[in-house]
């Protein structure tokens, strides 16, 4: 009887342990995805900002060109 109870407790303990571990795995998986999204998002935004900056330079050059070459 005692042995039976011990076995039962051990099995229940194992079940709890396994479900806790899988819950932790889920959280860490989401964490990885969030971090990846964040870093990709930052790269995309930086790229767009650089593009915006360079576009403005081209626009400024075009305005200079307009001043120099007034007749089309």
């Amino acid at each position: 009887m005692k042995l039976n109870k011990q076995v039962l407790l051990a099995i229940v303990g194992c079940c709890l342990c396994i479900s806790a571990c899988s819950e932790q795995k889920k959280t860490s998986q989401e964490e990885v995805e969030v971090r990846t999204m964040d870093s990709t998002s930052r790269s995309i935004k930086e790229s767009a900002d650089k593009l915006d900056e360079q576009t403005k330079k081209v626009e400024a050059s075009l305005e200079q060109l307009d001043n120099e070459f007034k007749n089309p």
């Binding site: 099995i11 889920k26 935004k45 330079k57 060109l65 120099e68």
Partner: protein, 261 residues
């Protein structure tokens, strides 16, 4: 007898425990497969090549910056350039990254010397919130802010105005969904920037071709050397900036290719 019963019951309980843990792990495994482009937690772009990096000038005229560069030192511009542009007054931009190979006309981004001065008014467009739906049914829709030009194209392909309904998905936390929204908003912002920059690039190339021809004519007409040198410096400066812009457009376009599909 009692020992047998004990051993059988413990074996039975052990089997139940194994089944429970296996089903839990399988459930988590299925969750990993779903979610925005979930590949072991990596948000990976597809390897498809889109026309994003190719400006419409390449498709319309069959000419690109290489030909423009080759025109250095030539006295006359390509006559075909002007003829092509007369036939096609509106620029068409192919956005494979957004929807399947559909062309749509980006009104307001067709630059000439007059409207180029007013370009800031063209760009000052109010942003609208739309609910963008992915072509993959398993991918949850996302609320993104888009300019009026872009909104029209989105609506044509099934997107709707307004915020998306909240996602009833307990597999991911609120933080995840917020980050996802931000991510796709940045993708949209990048795409719009690429489109606009492409239009400026196209216009700049037109102007470069014209300016080179004008310079050649001035040289042949024996204009003052100082004037010609000054104008040449401006043209060279524009060429350098245009070259860098083209590279940056390619990089930016590749970052977001197919991400909103």
């Amino acid at each position: 007898m009692k020992q047998k019963i004990t051993s059988y019951s413990s074996l039975f309980l052990l089997a139940v425990a194994c089944v429970l843990s296996a089903s839990t792990l399988q459930e988590k495994g299925n969750k990993n497969g779903k979610g925005p482009k979930g590949n072991n937690g990596k948000v990976q772009p597809k390897n498809d090549h889109s026309d994003y990096g190719n400006s419409p000038r390449n498709e319309q005229n069959g000419k690109g910056i290489d030909q423009e560069k080759n025109k250095k030192g030539q006295s006359k511009p390509g006559k075909n350039d002007k003829a092509d542009r007369k036939d096609k007054p509106e620029k068409e931009f192919r956005m494979k990254g957004n929807h399947d190979a559909d062309k749509y006309t980006l009104l307001g981004y067709n630059w000439n010397r007059d409207n180029f001065k007013e370009r800031k008014n063209f760009r000052k467009q109010d942003k609208l919130t739309i609910c963008h739906k992915f072509s993959k049914g398993s991918e949850a829709p996302v609320s993104i802010r888009v300019s009026a030009n872009a909104a029209e194209a989105h609506m044509k392909h099934g997107d709707v105005r307004g915020e998306c309904p909240p996602v009833n998905d307990s597999r991911y936390s609120d933080r995840y969904w917020r980050n996802r929204n931000d991510y796709y908003n940045n993708v949209q912002y990048n795409q719009e920037q690429v489109l606009y920059s492409n239009s400026i690039l196209d216009y700049a190339l037109q102007r470069l071709a014209g300016s080179r021809s004008q310079l050649a004519i001035m040289q042949s007409n024996n204009m003052p050397l100082a004037d010609i040198q000054r104008k040449q410096a401006v043209v060279n400066n524009l060429e350098q900036n245009v070259s860098l812009l083209e590279q940056l457009i390619g990089v930016a376009a590749n970052l977001v290719v197919n991400k909103l599909m």
